[in-house]
């Protein structure tokens, strides 16, 4: 959440302490009913329906403000004429090391990508560590070295940080939070609320690699696969795209909840429908196979180095070529269109020519994927 929300929360709090108890309750009473579920479930962290419910029923009533309420992956604020993007993300992935990355590189890439999806050039990151008593120092060294490499490769610096240690059993090895700040490029304004009927839907490459790479290493699930996590910084790909066409409406990285959650969010935010072509969606053979075996739909599996772009119809081909001209986007594809029909619903044309809904994830069977 952006710093502005902290300010809002603080002032709310200081305001209420001076009131009597009944007024306190009134001040905090939410416009929506309290959630019926009285405890946090793993599904609340899925990025799907339960996460959305938590935002709507707990966070926004207490912390909401015009900047936060946009619910994009980053807050955009203006200071002295400069537009800044601010974002934060926590990483709890299990295991800490996996094919194609680790929690350290993931924490750097994830936050860079959230800035990049706002059209910002990432400048600086913070890093905060929650360490479990007993964590081998060597593990921490490996993670921090990986963070340094990822940041250096992306041309950003980690300029502030924090460390906390909790008793053994109170955390699982190591959790990381990173925040980031970036400068939004001139004349760029991206938001999930800007998709319009007719727009093209593009993805920058193969979907589902990260989730499958993680699952392959989970206890009880070990299966052999050559799939690497796609964990990567996307800001140079975004620059390539934005320089090719000014008509990009929205960028998102389909992390938790996968492509389906991202597209459902955009369609809800923009009050439009979407129609996808199933055969056009790039999914590796190995990922399809693993999903088949595990009973998963690759459209719900997490990515950490892919973006979804919603682009004006006239710019679709130029945007696709721009993505494909960049090493990180060489397998980019146009996968569908924004429609006026069935608003807030993502529908997919199957290989048989019939249609089906691509819904938002209801529960979560794959916790701690990032």
């Amino acid at each position: 959440m952006p710093p502005t929300t902290n300010t809002a929360a603080t002032s709310l709090h200081s305001e209420t302490v001076s009131h009597d108890e009944s007024k306190d309750l009134a001040a905090f009473s939410c416009p929506v009913p309290l959630p019926a579920r009285e405890r946090i479930l793993l599904g609340h962290g899925s990025g799907g329906k339960l996460s959305a419910e938590l935002l709507k029923e707990v966070f926004l009533p207490a912390l909401g403000n015009p900047i936060l309420n946009r619910l994009d992956d980053q807050a955009i604020v203006s200071i002295d004429g400069a537009r800044l993007a601010i974002t934060t993300d926590s990483f709890v992935v299990k295991p800490l090391f996996f094919r194609g990355g680790d929690i350290g590189s993931l924490a750097v890439h994830g936050t860079i990508n959230d800035l990049a999806m706002g059209g910002a050039d990432p400048l600086w990151l913070s890093a905060a560590f929650i360490l479990e008593e007993g964590l081998p120092l060597d593990t921490l060294r490996r993670v921090v070295t990986s963070m340094h490499q990822a940041a250096a490769n992306a041309g950003v610096q980690i300029i502030t940080g924090d460390t906390k240690v909790v008793e053994k059993g109170s955390a699982d090895g190591l959790f990381i939070n990173t925040s980031g700040i970036g400068r939004v490029r001139e004349n760029v304004s991206l938001s999930a609320s800007q998709a319009r009927p007719g727009d093209a839907i593009l993805v920058s490459g193969y979907l589902g690699d990260h989730g499958i790479a993680i699952l392959a290493e989970r206890e009880g699930l070990q299966f052999e696969t050559q799939v690497n996590s796609d964990s990567a910084a996307l800001h140079t790909l975004v620059v390539r795209l934005l320089e090719a066409t000014p008509e990009v409406r929205c960028l998102r990285d389909p992390t938790r909840g996968g492509l389906s959650s991202t597209l459902n969010e955009i369609s809800a935010s923009s009050q439009v429908g979407m129609e996808l072509e199933e055969t056009a969606i790039p999914i590796r053979e190995e990922v399809r196979g693993a999903c088949e075996m595990l009973g998963l739909d690759p459209l719900y599996v997490a990515n950490e180095g892919k973006l979804v772009a919603i682009v004006a119809p006239s710019a679709a081909q130029a945007a696709l070529r721009a993505l494909q001209s960049h090493p990180t986007g060489k397998d980019a594809a146009m996968i569908g269109r924004v429609t006026r029909e069935h608003p807030r619903m993502v529908v997919m044309r199957t290989p048989l020519g019939t249609t089906r809904i691509v819904d938002m994830l209801a529960g979560d069977q794959l916790p701690r994927i990032c």
Partner: protein, 365 residues
């Protein structure tokens, strides 16, 4: 994917659908038994492809859906015990019991873990001798051999901390109940391919003789199901009623003998309750007396945990094919996968959830 994409081939699927439309002189009412088959029909929009040339109704073959409410309550009671670790297939965690579900019990501190295989559950019990490890063994004939093997393995390892909470149901008695119903309208069945891989086709011969209804053992991919539907339509148009096997790449007439022997050694046939339907005689499996030491119901004395199902849900009508999920007034409004009223909305293989997940853009709520 080799051996899979061929069965999703659009050209073959469209040709089969065209043949079904051409051959069908009236909208025959056909039922697929298995939830996996329902899921495929909905996911690929096969109903759309067939254009009302046949009417597809959906059977009771989602094991998650038909697991009785009181069995869920018993699993919840076990998971709340400080000395028990409950191991389960992931799907079961969201299924609502009378008051809560296993996800919430887990959030309250219950030691509940998801495993993919009963063999993993045995290994888990072996590695934690101090814990009472209960595996929630649900399913049709398909999962029964693996559960039987888990018990045999635990016996071989002399494990005293491993047990099963069994909720095993059998397909043929359910079909028989359905066919005996005066309201039955189903004229042909797609039998569940994976169940028949284990038990073979013999039991279905009895049903065909008794009720003169065609049964085709079918697979789970779009082309499998379209071919099975075509075979049923041809039988119906020709006035035949036979057992035929579409899923020949997996099912042999006699089934899998070693698997059947493992089931027979560990389990015996018993009456079972089906969620949404009620009690059906000789429709399930329970652990034999010799394996009582592995029976969580006996070890933990769970018989007191009973539950009555809420009346508002029409799941019985849906599970028996009398009604479609969209006939329910609560469908998609008061009952969604997120907040299910009844069992068929819970698992992605349940008929209501499959309709909701894939087809609700075609119905007006």
């Amino acid at each position: 994917m080799k051996y899979l994409d061929e069965y999703r081939d659009a050209r073959i699927a469209r040709a089969l659908a065209a043949e079904i439309r051409r051959r069908s002189t009236r909208p025959w009412v056909l039922m697929e038994i298995c939830g996996g088959q329902t899921h495929t029909l909905m996911r690929y929009g096969i109903d759309e492809l067939l254009d009302d040339s046949v009417q597809l109704v959906h059977g009771p073959g989602c094991p998650v859906c038909v697991t009785p409410l009181e069995t869920i309550d018993r699993a919840i009671a076990l998971a709340r015990r400080a000395d028990v670790t409950l191991l389960s297939y992931g799907d079961m965690l969201r299924v609502p019991g009378s008051e809560t579900d296993l996800f919430h019990v887990k959030a309250e501190g219950g030691d509940i873990r998801v495993v993919y295989s009963p063999a993993d559950a045995v290994q888990f019990a072996r590695s934690r001798p101090g814990r009472k490890v209960v595996f929630f063994a649900i399913g049709f004939e398909t999962t029964a051999p693996a559960h039987a093997m888990a018990v045999l393995q635990a016996e071989r390892l002399d494990l005293t901390n491993f047990s099963l909470l069994v909720s095993h149901v059998l397909v043929p008695p359910a079909i028989r109940t359905l066919l005996r119903s005066p309201r039955n309208c189903v004229q042909g069945f797609i039998a569940p391919g994976h169940v028949c891989t284990v038990v073979g086709c013999r039991e279905y011969e009895d049903l065909v003789r008794e009720f003169r209804v065609p049964i085709v053992v079918g697979g789970f991919e779009p082309v499998d199901l379209l071919e099975a539907i075509r075979m049923l339509v041809i039988q119906l148009e020709e006035g035949r009623a036979e057992v035929e096997n579409q899923y020949v790449r997996s099912v042999q007439y006699e089934g899998n003998r070693p698997a059947q022997e493992a089931i027979a050694r560990v389990f015996e046939i018993s009456d079972r309750k089906w969620r949404g339907i009620g009690s059906i005689s000789v429709s399930g499996l329970r652990l034999r007396e010799e394996y009582a030491a592995f029976d969580a119901e006996r070890i933990f004395e769970l018989a007191d945990v009973c539950a009555e199902e809420p009346a508002e849900c029409i799941s019985a009508e849906v599970l028996l094919g009398h009604k479609k999920p969209t006939d329910c007034t609560a469908f998609g409004t008061r009952c969604t996968p997120d907040k299910p009223l009844g069992a068929p909305m819970v698992s992605s293989e349940g008929a209501c959830a499959a309709y909701y997940q894939y087809r609700r853009h075609l119905v007006t709520l």
